[in-house]
């Protein structure tokens, strides 16, 4: 039976690696079982994921094979050589502490730039001021309220544009969003943008990205926010700068119109 169990344990690294490779290559029946299409300029996160996948993959295969080999070879039914009576080896232990330490140190330093780019280096205007938010995203049970500042570029003035679950951004531009919550925690998650930020009541936060591909993509809420959490679904539309401006105008006019008719009805 020792042989059987060794092979069973061997199957874990083999099947594991196959599953990952299969999904990443998009082969049947696992098409699209990997990252959703990337639509922003910054591919750091995907890159980093692959670097770590390669590193951990090697360790995983290595330990899996070593374990298999030891089990196969030292099965007490088959092996009748002497037992290696040893309490350890400092040399070996130093080797297998130092190598992971170096790898991990490398990773820790290697990723810092990507993190800074994602969270600490907010895009600047030419005059050195931080770029203002193009829109404000407000989470609330169970919808995304979107607020555009209008022509005066200031929030909470009469010319603001409000939409629900419908966010439009121009392509090829650094988009800065301000996000906040009205009630509980939500999490603003754009899978295709590799972007996620918890939305905290009482806090104002900024995220930024540069979309490069037109299309409509899901806005997901990734933080449990109550029973209707699953239906808190928005849509982000990436379009050319001119389409974007046209949409802004149209949406603004529609809002004016509906407010006008609302006032009349009263």
């Amino acid at each position: 039976m020792g042989r059987f169990w060794s092979l069973l344990f061997l199957s874990v690294p083999i099947l594991g690696v196959i599953t990952f490779v299969w999904s990443a290559m998009g082969l049947y029946p696992l098409e699209r079982h990997w990252f959703p299409e990337l639509v922003v300029a910054d591919s750091n996160i995907d890159h980093l994921f692959y670097v770590i996948l390669a590193m951990t993959g090697i360790v995983f295969i290595g330990t899996g094979l070593a374990m298999f080999w030891f089990l196969w070879k030292y099965d007490d039914k088959k092996y009748d050589g002497p037992v290696w009576y040893s309490h350890g080896s400092h040399m070996l232990e130093i080797i297998w502490s130092v190598i992971p330490a170096v790898l991990i140190l490398f990773l820790a330093i290697y990723q810092m730039d990507a993190w800074a780019g994602a969270r600490m280096r907010r895009p600047m205007l030419e005059n050195g001021q931080p770029k203002p938010a193009m829109a404000r995203v407000i989470g609330r049970q169970f919808e995304w309220k979107i607020q555009y500042p209008g022509n005066d570029k200031k929030f909470d003035t009469p010319d603001d544009l409000y939409t629900t679950n419908d966010l439009h951004v121009p392509r090829d531009e650094e988009v800065v969003l301000e996000i906040t919550s009205e009630d509980v925690l939500h999490s603003f998650f754009l899978p295709n943008f590799r972007e996620k930020q918890d939305v905290v009541p009482g806090m104002k936060q900024f995220i930024w990205f540069k979309p490069v591909k037109d299309g409509k993509y899901d806005i997901v809420c990734a933080e449990l926010c109550g029973w209707g959490h699953y239906k808190m679904k928005g849509q982000i539309t990436v379009e050319s700068a001119s389409d974007y401006r046209a949409w802004l105008e149209k949406a603004y006019n529609e809002q004016e119109l509906s407010e006008y008719s609302l006032a009349e009805a009263e």
């Binding site: 039976m1 020792g2 169990w5 069973l8 874990v12 099947l15 594991g16 999904s23 029946p29 079982h33 990997w34 980093l48 994921f49 770590i52 996948l53 590193m55 951990t56 995983f60 899996g64 070593a66 374990m67 030891f70 030292y74 007490d76 037992v83 009576y85 040893s86 309490h87 350890g88 080896s89 070996l92 232990e93 992971p100 991990i104 990773l107 820790a108 990723q111 993190w115 049970q141 009205e182 009630d183 509980v184 998650f189 899978p191 996620k196 930020q197 905290v200 009541p201 806090m203 899901d218 997901v220 990734a222 449990l224 926010c225 109550g226 029973w227 959490h229 699953y230 239906k231 679904k233």
Partner: protein
């Protein structure tokens, strides 16, 4: 009164007729004997394990066949919705599943069941330092059982703001259906679990420091005891923080304070009165306990696995001291990495860097442990018993869980995978693939000691094989879901275009999960059958070295029928000094003697 006979069976001196109700209660119910308390913990936690497993099936059912009637129990439970799982109920399901599994299963089974049973036996003591406190530590679990259990039946059907219970969702009653009484009961139950753990923790620390048999130096302790000892330390330092935070949340809910509720909150169209608080404060306090708690959920398992591996490889544990230091290192670092749960929470991104580096460092002692386990089986004589299979699978599964941790520790990658199924895969590999597998191994290993009988090996192996296969089938695929960004805690993820095509994969996982729960029947049958009818076990059926194996099976009151004196560490398998391949800790040196020297106590 009981006495112990030479063949290792404890016998009761009286006939059954004399055995009154009072005595029955003091022997089996309000017992102060650490072994009875350990078994009480074991039976209770196994029962909750089953409940937690069934809740998981509910979750998986919804993810595989959303909004379809649950067979059999659906119509009974939700006749109002026509047998469907409602989104409210789904939220409760995953909240209570996680709560039950962490607070009523994994933590109490490791410390409560195995800690209690094994600590005195393995260090050569006759009981815990504070037997009454020990008894209480079990009995305050009952209010916890009742409050958690009862919360299923009050308005809202159980707490439903996640096991992490993040405010304001959890602290504002208007925010969620389960945020009413159920959430209050949840908090009270949590406090009871905390009190129980604290009592246990004080007891374990004192017992291990004070009550070791002569010759049992700290560096001769079995790794199981080291795991339990460091866990007790973690509990003692981290638990007060959670308890305090729990009271603060309770105050927010009951007295209208505003620790975690910010200014100007409008929930469900009504404005909150209290304000000025910080939701992130809860997250800091919660993870300050709950990150170390994930080590509370694994260090004892690591210890037990070390003991099992060494015993069935018939080889000394590779690098005993580095293993001890690694445990201490994991525990120490465990206190400064809680922020890795908050990379995208709104915490200062500069702090993210600090927590990232600290988290990465935890991978180091984890790597040392893994390689030392491999070193332990290298060059041995491995017998593939059921406990050994579980222990080996622990190592392999822990490798997967540990490696996926590195992805999440990389802050930029965590932006994408946080709160997706990648996280769920990670902690299930560590907690199910790791801890739960170790627990099964430990049950099969120490069962002969606990009940004086052996479990059935073929049944045990079938149980292992099926659990192992279906466990990987269920959880490995979650990594793939995580790569797509599939979020956790959604009643209907297919609502989003991005995830719609993942339904078949979820169905595959659900089928695996159902089979995984179903195959536990082999364990249950084996366990109860063997308690009564298994073949009798002698004192030391595995030819192991630990002190517990020198006591009768099961040990009587007071544990040992002789004064144990310890001459060496617990891992002297295959020692050239003796003819057998094991060398019990209590066996005096050169007993079957090439010299006439009297056995002396060596103390180094």
């Amino acid at each position: 009164m009981s006495s112990i006979t030479a063949d290792g069976q404890a016998t009761h001196a009286h006939t059954s007729g004399e055995f009154g109700v009072g005595e029955f209660i003091s022997t089996y119910v309000f017992s102060r004997d650490h072994k009875v308390i350990g078994l009480q913990f074991l039976f209770s936690t196994l029962l909750w394990f089953l409940i937690g497993g069934l809740l998981a099936i509910g979750i998986r059912w919804q993810l595989a066949w959303p909004w379809s009637d649950m067979p059999v129990i659906g119509p009974m439970l939700f006749s109002a919705e026509g047998g469907q799982i409602s989104p409210e109920f789904y939220t409760m399901l995953f909240t209570m599943h996680a709560t039950v599994m962490t607070f009523l299963v994994i933590i109490p089974i490791l410390a409560g069941a195995f800690g209690n049973y094994l600590i005195p036996l393995m260090i050569g003591a006759d009981d815990m330092a504070f037997p009454t406190l020990n008894m209480l530590s079990y009995w305050v679990m009952w209010p916890a059982f009742l409050f958690f259990g009862g919360s299923f039946f009050v308005a809202g059907n159980g707490a439903s703001s996640g096991w992490t219970s993040y405010p304001p969702l959890s602290s504002v009653t208007e925010a969620a259906p389960g945020s009413g009484l159920a959430q209050t009961m949840w908090l009270i139950a949590l406090t009871c679990v905390g009190i129980s753990s604290m009592m246990g923790s004080v007891n374990y620390m004192t017992t291990i420091i004070q009550m070791r048999a002569p010759g049992m130096t700290m560096m001769r302790l079995p790794m199981t005891i080291w795991g339990m000892f460091i866990t007790a330390l973690l509990q003692a330092f981290a638990l007060p923080v959670l308890t305090a935070a729990g009271f603060m949340q309770l105050a927010d809910r009951v007295f209208g304070t505003g620790f975690f509720v910010p200014e100007g909150l409008i929930v469900n169209n009504s404005e909150m009165v209290a304000g000025g608080g910080q939701p992130l404060l809860w997250q800091h306090l919660f993870w300050f306990y709950s990150h170390p708690a994930v080590y509370i959920m694994i260090l004892p398992a690591m210890g037990m696995v070390s003991d099992i591996l060494s015993c069935f490889a018939r080889k000394p544990l590779f690098g005993y001291k580095p293993m001890v230091y690694a445990i201490c290192g994991i525990a120490g670092l465990g206190f400064i990495v809680w922020g890795h749960h908050m990379f995208v929470s709104g915490m200062n991104p500069g702090l993210g860097m600090t927590f990232m580096v600290a988290t990465m460092m935890i991978a180091l002692p984890s790597a040392v442990k893994t390689f030392n386990w491999l070193g332990t089986i290298y060059g041995g004589k491995i017998s593939f018993t059921t406990p050994m299979l579980f222990a080996l699978s622990f190592v392999l599964m822990f490798v997967i869980g540990g490696l996926s941790g590195i992805f999440m520790a990389a802050t930029p990658v965590d932006i994408f995978i946080h709160d997706t199924y990648f996280i769920v895969a990670h902690f299930h590999y560590v907690l199910f693939g790791g801890t739960a597998m170790a627990v099964f191994g430990a049950i099969y290993f120490w069962f002969p000691k606990m009940f004086g009988r052996m479990m059935n090996e073929p049944l045990g192996k079938i149980h292992f094989l099926l659990t192992f296969l279906f466990m990987n089938g269920t959880f490995f695929t979650m990594h793939i879901l995580g790569a797509v960004g599939f979020p956790r805690r959604l009643a209907d993820p297919y609502h989003y275009e991005t995830f719609r095509h993942l339904l078949p994969m979820n169905q595959f996982m659900t089928i695996c999960a159902i089979l995984m729960v179903a195959c536990q029947i082999f364990f249950i049958v084996n366990f109860f059958y063997s308690i009564f009818f298994g073949p009798k076990a002698g004192r030391n059926p595995w030819h192991a070295n630990g002190l517990e194996w020198q006591a009768p099976s099961p040990p009587g009151h007071g544990n040992f029928d002789f004064q144990p004196i310890v001459y060496r560490g617990p891992y002297e398998y295959g020692s050239p000094e003796v003819d057998e391949d094991y060398y019990p800790q209590t066996q005096p040196p050169n007993e079957r003697g090439d010299t006439d020297e009297p056995a002396t106590m060596v103390n180094h």
